[in-house]
């Protein structure tokens, strides 16, 4: 098996993300790979199918910048704040262009990633009971238990072309450590054909962590890129806090097309992965209060 190469984020996105790919950028509130999202926007990838349980600001930005043709998701809001206006503008008004959506529940997507990692063609779970979602999503089918006859729900497994995640640490060999809220990142990486991991730091060795720490061995990852602060305004447990004030500020920034475009121009198009280090530092390790 091939082993992770340590390279720059620019090189990793250039090598492993192609126009038309299906991409899962995961991180459940914690460790959202914003720096990688910005790099994809800067490298102007197009016609992507973007997969994520909670699209969050990172997919609001990809959608608003015209990178995506399709969104697979289960909860598309700004958590605790309100709407994702770029997502809404695409769905409600087709700006900057029409966006196809495939909508699930969290349970369905979590199970679909799990099934993808497990090499199965589908996932089965007790879900969607009595809801309208199966009426608008043909990828939800009933499945009978062959022993009890109970009717359960089935969804196809998720097998993205590329998974991109952010993690705390990698060692020099490219083994990756994730701690805290681990979300579905491990499943997304194992379900995908290729995987890019940005990390807060590359360290000599991962010795000293729990024998059961969530580690992705280097032969499960294509590329590791060191991007300190790369999850900002999301956070990295042990490194910096979630920038809740920015999440609130985004409501204003993204509400109108002009203010959105101006912000993206200033902070993404005319910037680079290096800029994230300062953003992470500004958040500090502890709460201000």
């Amino acid at each position: 098996m091939a082993t992770a190469q340590i390279m720059s984020l620019r090189e990793a996105v250039a090598a492993y993300v192609k126009d038309g790919d299906s991409i899962a950028m995961e991180g459940f509130t914690h460790l959202i790979p914003f720096a990688a999202g910005h790099e994809i926007i800067r490298q102007k990838r197009r016609r992507l199918t973007i997969i994520r349980m909670t699209p969050d600001l990172i997919y609001d930005q990809l959608i608003g910048m015209g990178c995506a043709d399709k969104l697979v998701f289960s909860w598309g809001g700004n958590p605790g704040v309100g709407s994702l206006y770029r997502l809404r503008d695409a769905v409600e008004n087709g700006w900057p262009h029409a966006l196809q959506i495939e909508e699930h529940s969290h349970a369905a997507m979590a199970n679909a990633y799990e099934a993808g990692a497990a090499g199965l063609p589908f996932a089965v779970f007790r879900g969607y009971v009595g809801t309208d979602l199966p009426k608008v999503n043909s990828n939800i089918k009933p499945l009978k238990c062959p022993f009890t006859g109970e009717e359960l729900a089935a969804v196809p497994s998720l097998r993205p072309d590329v998974a991109i995640i952010h993690a705390q640490k990698a060692d020099r060999a490219g083994n990756v450590l994730i701690e805290g809220i681990v979300g579905v990142q491990k499943e997304a990486v194992l379900a995908a054909r290729r995987a890019i991991v940005t990390v807060e730091e590359v360290v000599e060795s991962l010795q000293g962590v729990s024998p059961n720490a969530c580690i992705l061995p280097n032969w499960t990852v294509s590329a590791v890129a060191e991007v300190p602060g790369g999850a900002h305004p999301s956070y990295a447990h042990g490194y910096y806090q979630r920038d809740n004030a920015f999440y609130k500020a985004w409501d204003e920034i993204a509400r109108e097309r002009d203010s959105f475009t101006a912000w993206m121009d200033d902070n993404v198009m005319r910037s680079g992965p290096e800029a994230f280090a300062a953003r992470g530092k500004a958040q500090g390790k502890r709460k201000a209060g």
Binding site: V91, R126, I181, V182, G183, C214
Partner: protein, 256 residues
Amino acid sequence: MDYTASEMMTISAARALKNDDVCFVGIGQPSAAANLARLTHAPGVTLIYESGTIGTKPDVLPLSIGDGELAETAVTVVPVPEMFRYWLQGGRISVGFLGAAQLDKFGNINTTVIGPYDKPKVRLPGGGGAPEIASSCGEVFLIMAQSKRGLVDRIDFCTSLGHGPGAGTREKLGLTTKGPSLLVTDLCIMKPDPVTKEFTVVSIHPGVSRDKITGNTGWPVRFAAHVEETPPPTKGELEALRALHERTARAHGGNA
């Protein structure tokens, strides 16, 4: 002590949680109520957020369901697929605590779209964890400010099942869980009628008139034979809630 209608809502919702409950907590109002319960009469309550945090005891309210406080104060943090498989679907949660954008009188929830699905007037965030919280938790508590826009006669889309078109629906679908058993608003408390499962007013918050409730409900709302007056917030409840909000506002660098 003076208090707002929103404080009354959070406090009376908090009172419904018991010390030995295991509660799957939705973000926003449910999170405030669940943590208030933990900080007052139910210190032993187990709070679970869909981010994977089990038995969490945040000092401030999280803005999202995955803030750092939740992981730092948890008994353990599990992967999200495990959360939905072993903990929620596994039937280990006694209470699911949810908010809603649109709700009908049988507790069916819409958080997907206003208007037609393919050409929505407003695209809402979607289901998230709620469709399976609604079916897998022992019972479901709902909390939302009361208005005709929120409590509607017909929801545009059924994101999460309550009692469907009425009594017997859940059983017919093979569910053994209770579904919505409580709705707390800023005006009153409703519970499903034991026979019809229609949400019925059982307790009115101090100073609120029946007309005000009727005027803010999108269906011809019924009142139970015996309607109580909700006990006003105690000094302890109010102080705990305000301190929580204050700590939260400080931590988030803005209003919470």
